[in-house]
Symmetry: C2
C-alpha cells in the first residue's frame, strides 16, 4: 500500500511553515510564508495559497491539519482569539474545509507541537511531558496521561500566559496580562535584550551590526552567540535563566518525565537550555527533578508542522 | 444495608483533622491534633493516635485514607518529601497499614481536597477544575478530564511552588524555590502582612491586639476583617489580588470550568475571592474567563478530610 499523505501547516506569530507529510513522517514538499501585517481576509488567503502550492506537488493528500497561534475551541474547530493573527471568532475548520474540499483539523500550534514530539520526537515513550516553544511569543502544549490536554472548551494550554513576574511588564500583543512568562521569555525577548546590549556596547559585535543598520533580532543574537561572542552568550543565558524559573512551576505542577523546548529560539541550544536546567536543579522540588529530562525539540522548528500533519493522519485512521 | 464507614485524616502543615465518614458523606466523629514541632516518630504516633481515637467510637470502619502535606509517590504509597512535616522517605501506606491493621490509602492533601470538591462539592459536575488551598502554605489539586491528576511518579500537582515573582523572596520551609506562589499567598502570609500593618499602625485594632501580646495570625486578621476593620480588609484584598495573579496562569493553562479556593484562609470568603476574581477578569485571556466560576470550597477546611475518606471509600468498591 502506498503511504498516505496529508498536509501539515504550522502558523506562528511571524510566519507559516507547511509541508506534505506521509504516514512515515517523511516531509515531501515544504512551503513558507510570512504574514507582514495581513488582515483577516489576506491571512486566510495566505493559508489557502500555501496549501494549494504544496498540494499541486502532491495531489494525493487526503486531509489537512493546521496549527494556529490562537485559542481554538477544539470540538468546534473555531479560532476564538489570537494575539498574533487576526483570527478572532473564525470558524476555521469549516471555512478551510469548504475552501479546500478536504477534511480539515485545526488546533493550537503548541498542541500540534507536543503531539509530534510525544508521538515520535523528544518525548517519545513519555506519558507526561510539557512542551514550551519559544518563537514570537511562547507556545505551549501538555501531554498528560498519554494524550494532548485541551481543557473544558479545548482552549488549553496557554502556559506562556502564566504570571512569572508579579506586577511585571505588560504582555505584548493583545494579551491583557502583566508579567506573563511570554513577556519575559521568547524569541522576540532575545532580540529586545540584544538591542539593549548593542546600544550599551557600541564596539561589540552586536553594536557594530546595529550601527551598520542591521535589525537586531533573536536570530542574529543566537548566531553570534554560537560563534563565541560573549555578550550574546550572556543574553541567551539571561533568557535561559528566566526560562528555567518559568519551568520550575511546570515541573512542580506536572511532575513530567520530559520537558521539550522548541520554536525558533531553541536554536540557541545548550546556551539557553543549560542555564534553564541549572535553575530547575537549584529551585524545583528535589524529588520532581530526579530523572527529569529537559531536551530540545527533536523536530526543531518543524514540530508544529509535523504535529499538524499527525492530527490529520490520525483522523484518517 | 448499613452505610459503609471509613476514616479520613487530613494533615496540614500545622494541624491534623480526622473523622469517621460514611458513604453518604456524613461525618460521625471528629478528631483534631496539632504538630508543635513533633519529630518523625512523634508525628507518626500522632497519626496513629488520632485514628485510634475515632476508631474507638466507630469500630466498624473498613479502611483509612490519609491526605498529607508531602510529595507522595501514589503507586508506592511513599511520602517522598515534605516541607511541612518530617515525612521524607516514609513508606507511609505500608507502615500505617501494618500499625492499624486496615487497608490504607495515602495521597497529597491537595489531591484529596480536589477529589472531595469534584465528586460532591463546589466543582461537582465539572470535568476540569483546579483547587488551591490556602493554609500554612498552598496546597493544590487538579481535576483534569474527570480524574485527579498526579503526574509521572504521582507527585503532582504542587502549584504552590510555581514562580509568581521572578527573583522574589525565598519560599518558607524546605522548598528551594524563590518567589513561589506559596511564598506570597497563604494563610501564614496573611498573618505576616497583618503583623506589618499592626506594627505600622499601633492605634489600629490589629495594633492594639499586638500591644496586648496577642499573636497576629491569619485567623485574627480574617476575624477583624469580617467585623469591618478597614486595615484588615486591605490585608485580605492584597492577598486576594496576589492570589488572582497566581490563578491567571492556572486559568490560561487549564481552561477550567471551576476554580475552588479552600483551606483555612478561605474563611476570608469574598474579602479574598472578589479581588482575585477582579484580577482574573482583567488579566486572563478573555475567552478563558467566559463561564469560569471561582468558588469557595463547599467542604471548607474539611475538604481534605472528606477527600481522604473518599479515597478510602472508592478503594472498597
Amino acid at each position: 500500500m502506498p503511504p498516505r499523505r496529508v498536509i501539515g501547516i504550522d502558523a506562528g506569530g511571524t510566519k507559516l511553515l507547511g509541508g506534505v507529510v506521509d504516514d512515515q513522517m517523511v516531509v515531501h514538499h515544504r512551503v513558507r510564508r510570512t504574514w507582514r501585517g495581513a488582515d483577516r481576509q489576506e491571512t486566510l488567503d495566505i493559508f489557502t495559497d500555501a496549501v494549494e502550492e504544496v498540494r499541486a506537488a502532491s495531489p494525493d493528500v487526503e486531509a489537512i491539519g493546521f496549527g494556529v497561534p490562537a485559542l481554538v475551541e477544539w470540538d468546534a474547530g473555531v479560532s476564538r482569539w489570537s494575539n498574533h493573527l487576526p483570527l478572532d471568532g473564525v470558524p476555521f475548520r469549516d471555512l478551510m474545509s469548504e475552501r479546500l474540499g478536504l477534511p480539515v483539523l485545526v488546533d493550537n500550534d503548541g498542541n500540534a507541537s507536543i503531539l509530534a514530539e510525544a508521538r515520535n520526537g523528544a518525548a517519545a515513550g513519555a506519558r507526561h511531558a510539557v512542551m514550551i516553544s519559544l518563537g514570537t511569543g511562547i507556545g505551549g502544549g501538555l501531554w498528560l496521561n498519554g494524550a494532548v490536554y485541551r481543557g473544558a472548551k479545548g482552549m488549553g494550554a496557554e502556559m506562556g500566559h502564566a504570571v512569572l513576574k508579579l506586577h511585571g511588564p505588560e504582555c505584548p500583543g493583545g494579551c491583557p496580562g502583566i508579567g506573563c512568562f511570554e513577556a519575559l521569555v521568547s524569541g522576540n525577548e532575545i532580540g529586545r535584550e540584544g538591542r539593549r546590549v548593542a546600544e550599551a556596547n557600541p564596539d561589540s559585535a552586536l553594536g557594530q551590526r546595529l550601527a551598520a543598520g542591521q535589525e537586531i533580532d533573536g536570530g542574529i543574537v543566537t548566531e553570534l552567540a554560537h560563534a563565541g561572542d560573549e555578550l550574546c552568550r550572556e543574553v541567551l543565558a539571561l533568557i535561559g535563566e528566566r526560562l528555567g524559573f518559568g519551568l520550575v512551576g511546570l515541573v512542580n505542577t506536572f511532575n513530567p518525565e520530559v520537558i521539550v523546548i522548541g520554536g525558533g529560539a531553541a536554536r540557541g541550544g545548550d546556551l539557553i537550555l543549560e542555564p534553564a536546567r541549572s535553575v530547575i536543579a537549584a529551585h524545583a522540588l528535589p524529588p520532581m527533578v530526579e530523572g527529569l529530562r529537559v531536551l530540545p525539540a527533536h523536530y526543531g522548528d518543524e514540530a508544529g508542522m509535523i504535529g499538524a500533519a499527525l492530527m490529520a493522519l490520525e483522523s484518517l485512521a
